[in-house]
């Protein structure tokens, strides 16, 4: 097409302006139906005479090959912007609304930083980005089709939001209703695609010019990466991607990314917290997403040892080594006179219990876990990011010292304040806690061991046996438990020595089932670069939401050992229906299964090993005999070490 300036190419905006004027003119002149009929094209012969352009193409020597759109595409500039942010991968499911960006990424950008990772489902793309960040500390971007693709992605974005994980979602959208292709592209466009994720993203934008995109992309990255971390979304007009860069006007530039310093606790509040902690006879620290980085673990150890206080790691990150004698289970708060929560998603639930027993008109029973006199301190950056509709902040808990600040960033000043507040007398009291703490730790460890051996030789295989057979084969490697989807009674945290930040990556955040499989693949992708061995404990229900991510792992040669916790049910839900049946004095209807209808994954049993094999994995199963498990894992470990993914389908006890 030749534009008004005589250049080959298609300037969409100028074309649209022209189209709009042309469209308005008949209305202004009150064209009658008869005139419109007269203006309609006459009957067109089946063979048209060649155009000047066709004649030239057929009779003259070929000219220089040019881009049909003319000039450098806008999406090339977008890739230039993205490259400055050092985003390694773009796990995505392909779609027409971002075809221009896709094309620029793999051709102009040479498919490097970011490299396109082929996904079968948008939820998988987001889940991969989620897991990748937790293993590497670096965010990824994912491209989705504006409406239907984003709809697929939403649960995974919600998980990332609740888990305080940064990622950038770019949704393609054909905004211009007058020029976008009719049919599917129009069905798949909307005025404001980001509306469906606005409640659980930190920020979103819809750039209308290329320079606007440059600013938005860097701003998006900056917002996502400022604690509290979180997902961000950019709606990207298909026209803006496809148009050439205009040569007139101001030259495009790329804003420089400079990280924002995380918010630190107010110095007065930090001193007040330190005073309470030092004066306490039994202070307890509870950490959830405190250690954003490995340095957070070191800081927390330093603080705990200064106070010789118990530390509860709620496990959404690896905050504190479970081999440390100050590591404690959640129940330790009952004896505390001061509880300090660090980046807790649920302070109320930390110091209160809820029993779903049908009392109080069916809403259940609440009771405090702590003494009425217990003082409470909270440091959390989540207080700086609150949404009205989707409320993941849990029940309201009054605390005595409350800092809206990033816990890891605040720890150095809190450590200094604690050091200043410790008198000689208090130092002596604190020192006396050591031996008692070591004994308590040993007792807990012995109880865990006793619990682990009950049902050790059972079939289906006990979850304790499952976990320890895995550990037995990976203990000499630099392992990373990338996901533990489904409930295995917390055995890894109880029995595996977890000392490094990457050895435990936490859970989904929003409890959206279907996180485990893609997050494992994403974390394994990061660990591949970092030379770590990735292992996941993969539950059956989680895998079946979007099992296509297995293909992605095979396609991109992502080494991952996936050992299935196949208890053949959605066990979280089994008991809900059982409980309600009993409350209502009805015998639960199991149909032909072993649990309430609608909660079991059996009859037929799914052959996950065959599913994985069909998508390029090495796989084995079903393994029901515990004696066969160790040798099978050994075999699978060798496969993973050779660079391939491997899956073992293991029939397990419920939890």
């Amino acid at each position: 097409m030749t534009d008004l300036n005589g250049k080959d190419g298609f300037d969409r905006r100028k074309f649209l302006t022209g189209a709009a004027v042309a469209g308005v003119t008949p209305a202004l002149t009150q064209t009658t139906p008869a005139q419109a009929q007269a203006a309609a094209p006459r009957h067109t012969p089946s063979a048209l005479p060649p155009t000047t352009k066709t004649i030239a193409a057929e009779t003259q020597p070929p000219g220089e090959e040019t881009s049909r759109i003319g000039g450098k595409p806008g999406s090339d500039y977008m890739i230039d912007v993205i490259k400055t942010l050092d985003i390694k991968y773009a796990p995505s499911n392909c779609a027409s609304s971002f075809r221009a960006l896709h094309e620029s990424m793999i051709n102009y950008g040479e498919n490097k930083s970011p490299e396109y990772i082929s996904c079968m489902h948008e939820e998988s793309g987001v889940g991969i980005a989620h897991g990748y960040f937790k293993a590497s500390g670096k965010p990824l971007l994912t491209m989705v089709h504006g409406t239907v693709g984003l709809q697929h992605a939403t649960m995974a974005i919600y998980n990332a939001y609740c888990d305080r994980v940064p990622l950038i979602v770019i949704g393609g959208n054909d905004l211009d209703a007058a020029s976008r292709p009719p049919g599917v592209p129009t069905f798949h466009a909307a005025q404001d695609i980001n509306a469906i994720v606005r409640d659980y993203t930190k920020w979103d934008d819809t750039p209308v010019t290329l320079q606007h995109f440059g600013q938005s992309m860097v701003r998006a990255y900056k917002i996502a990466m400022t604690p509290p971390y979180g997902p961000v979304a950019i709606s990207l007009d298909a026209g803006l991607q496809q148009e050439p860069i205009h040569e007139h006007g101001a030259k495009l530039y790329i804003p420089r990314y400079v990280p924002t310093s995380p918010p630190q606790g107010d110095s007065n509040a930090v001193r007040e917290a330190a005073k309470l902690l030092v004066a306490a006879e039994n202070p307890v620290i509870v950490a959830d997403r405190c250690a954003r980085t490995p340095n957070g673990v070191k800081l927390l150890i330093e603080l705990a040892e200064l106070l010789q206080c118990s530390v509860v790691d709620q496990g959404n990150r690896m905050n504190f080594p479970n081999t440390h004698y100050l590591y404690r289970p959640a129940g330790v708060v009952s004896g505390a006179d001061v509880v300090m929560g660090l980046e807790l998603s649920d302070f109320w639930g930390t110091v209160n219990s809820f029993t779903d027993n049908g009392e109080n008109g069916g809403v259940g029973f609440n009771s405090p876990r702590v003494k009425p006199t217990t003082k409470m301190i909270s440091i959390t950056s989540v207080d700086l990011l609150t949404k009205s509709n989707y409320q993941d902040f849990q029940r309201f808990q009054t605390v005595d010292v409350h800092m809206a600040a990033d816990a890891e960033t605040t720890l150095p000043s809190l450590i200094d304040a604690v050091k200043s507040a410790i008198t000689k007398e208090r130092a002596s009291v604190i020192a006396e806690r050591v031996e008692k703490a070591k004994k308590a730790y040993a007792d807990i460890r012995a109880r865990d061991m006793q619990a682990a051996v009950v049902g050790w030789d059972s079939s289906p295989i006990s979850t304790a046996r499952l976990c320890m057979e895995i550990y037995g084969q990976i203990k000499d490697l630099d392992w990373s438990l990338v996901s533990s989807a489904g409930d295995v009674s917390n055995w890894p945290a109880r029995l595996w020595p977890i000392e490094k930040h990457h050895q435990w990556l936490g859970k989904s955040g929003g409890y959206g089932v279907g996180y485990g499989a893609p997050a494992s693949v994403g974390a394994a992708l990061a660990n591949k670069e970092l030379g770590r061995f990735s292992v996941s404990i993969q539950s059956d229900g989680d895998l079946m939401f979007a099992p296509g991510v297995l293909w992605t792992a095979a396609k991109h040669k992502i080494p991952l050992l996936s050992v299935m916790h196949n208890n053949r049910a959605w066990h979280q839900e089994v008991m809900h229906v059982q409980r309600l049946s009993n409350f209502r004095n009805r015998k639960a209807n199991y149909g032909d299964d072993m649990g309430p209808i609608g909660t079991m994954i059996q009859n037929p049993d799914i052959e996950y090993h065959k599913l994985a094999e069909s998508m390029g994995w090495w796989a084995k199963g079903p393994i029901k005999d515990p004696a066969q498990l160790g040798p099978a894992i050994k075999e699978a470990v060798a496969v993973v070490k050779s660079g391939q993914p491997a899956l073992l389908n293991v029939w397990t006890q419920p939890r």
Partner: protein, 113 residues
């Protein structure tokens, strides 16, 4: 359960409302343990886990277990007689009582840290 046939000895006796004694069966108890959903939280051997405590080799008397099962207001829902008969519950008690002793953790190399 491997050793179940060897340990079907009566572990409990229930005095039924008519005055007749009901001799409990661990084998029947194993079936009832599955059909009434006990395994869902306590595991197939009553080994316990995050969702429910260990039941295997319980030291509680049958009467205490029955009272708890019928009237609990804890996380476990109550099982009325309509939902779980006295006979089934007595068999279940026999089953969990008859579980073999677990091995000593020190004899399991995988548990050595």
């Amino acid at each position: 359960m491997r050793n179940m046939k060897m340990i079907t000895a009566v572990a409990a006796t229930l005095l039924l409302s008519g005055g007749a004694a009901y001799a409990a069966s661990a084998e029947k108890g194993k079936v009832a343990f599955g059909k009434n959903g006990c395994w869902q939280c306590h595991g197939w051997e009553g080994q316990g886990g995050n969702a429910g405590p260990k039941l295997a080799r319980t030291q509680l008397p049958l009467e205490a277990v029955m009272t708890f099962v019928r009237a609990t207001n804890g996380p476990m829902p109550p099982f009325s007689k309509k939902v779980l008969s006295d006979e089934d519950l007595t068999d279940i008690y026999a089953f969990i009582s008859a579980q073999p002793a677990p091995p000593d953790p020190k004899t399991i190399p995988l548990l050595a840290r």
